[in-house]
């Protein structure tokens, strides 16, 4: 019988690296996808998802076994993603002043959602997947996290609220605004 995430976490607290590797194998794809959809960048997604696993390793003894591991882990990961974006905001603003051709052209625009058509809307005119990703990139980090947790992890509004550290109704508003914005962006193409 496979040990539960919570059991693995208890073993990780005792510095069991095999338990840690098992936990990583179990969650690596979901963690990477979530980070990738919030950050919109492969290398950042790799670094931040690895950082989230590292935090789990370091703080496993602080995990409250009464709650679900996945909620705790998602919270760590989403907070790291949002912090990373906030730290990089000034830098991205500077790069956007340099010009779109000279900046990292796979980096999406970040908060706040842009209403004006620009290079991001150009990307929407591509394939269906690319259009969706470009539309996703126009959302705020919290909206992106909420919608990704809903779609990819199949979390309820209550669980999304626990991850985003907000009320359930706020989580529903994030979801509603995210979907409204996505539909609006996709219609505008």
């Amino acid at each position: 019988m496979e040990p539960s995430d919570e059991e693995l976490c208890r073993r990780i607290a005792a510095r069991d690296t095999q338990a840690f590797e098992l936990l990583v194998e179990r969650h690596q794809a979901a963690a990477y996808r979530l980070a990738r959809s919030i950050l919109g960048h492969d290398e950042d997604a790799r670094d931040i998802s690895q950082e989230a696993f590292l935090r789990v390793y370091q703080a496993a003894e602080q995990f409250d076994a009464r709650s679900r591991f996945s909620t705790w882990f998602h919270r760590i990961l989403v907070n790291l993603c949002i912090d990373h974006q906030r730290r990089g905001k000034w830098w991205r603003k500077f790069v956007s002043l340099v010009g779109p051709g000279e900046a990292e052209d796979d980096q999406p625009a970040l908060d706040p959602p842009s209403q004006a058509p620009g290079p991001d809307l150009e990307a929407i005119r591509g394939q269906s997947g690319a259009r969706l990703r470009a539309a996703l990139a126009l959302l705020s980090p919290n909206q992106r996290a909420a919608v990704t947790l809903l779609v990819q992890e199949d979390l309820s509004s209550k669980e999304i609220a626990a991850v985003l550290n907000c009320s359930e109704s706020t989580a529903r508003v994030h979801l509603h605004r995210a979907i409204t914005q996505l539909r609006k962006t996709l219609k505008e193409e």
Binding site: Q28, Y32, R46, Q50, G129, T148, H176, R183
Partner: protein
């Protein structure tokens, strides 16, 4: 539908069965009479389904390399510090050991002051003077002593005090 507020923020929760009974019934009643919200629910479901498929197509990294990098980072994590707990017995014994160590250190540092001062280095002349001071009686009986064979006259030597010094002129060996 004019004048009615649309429960837009609740539509996703409704379609996923997350609403409490009272809210669920209210939204259901609204949807029954509102084509716009019914269309919105259907559009949301299509969009979320499409988004789910797209996220599934995210190109993934080589997991072996990913885990190797991660384990390298883990190897650099310092071991956790042992938890500090207040244990009175341990604290008192530590305090006692510290006091003992301090006392030993102070004693060691002050030891040279407690010892008698070492005699100053002596040269040959000083040594002779010192010997002369300590064996005055022997020197007083020197005239007797010089006529004795030291090896054969221990008794005489030990009773020098009882002897009277011989006159210098009576010495037959003196030239």
């Amino acid at each position: 539908m004019l004048g009615r507020s649309h429960p837009e923020a609740e539509l996703i929760a409704y379609s996923r069965g997350e609403l409490r009974p009272a809210a669920r019934d209210r939204v259901a009643r609204h949807l029954h009479g509102c084509a716009r919200c019914r269309a919105s629910v259907a559009a949301c479901a299509r969009l979320l389904s499409e988004l789910g498929r797209e996220l599934e197509r995210t190109p993934l990294p080589d997991w072996q390399i990913y885990r190797a990098q991660l384990m390298q980072k883990v190897a650099q994590v310092p071991p956790p510090a042992p938890p500090r707990r207040w244990r009175p017995a341990l604290a008192w014994s530590s305090l006692g050991a510290a006091a003992l160590a301090t006392a030993t250190l102070l004693l060691t540092l002050n030891l040279p002051r407690l010892r008698p001062p070492a005699p100053p280095p002596m040269d040959q002349l000083s040594l002779q003077e010192a010997m002369a001071d300590t064996d005055v009686d022997l020197l007083r009986a020197y005239p007797v002593l010089e006529h004795l064979d030291l090896i054969e006259n221990y008794d005489v030597i030990s009773r020098l005090d009882e002897l009277s010094p011989a006159p210098t002129s009576a010495n037959p060996n003196r030239s």
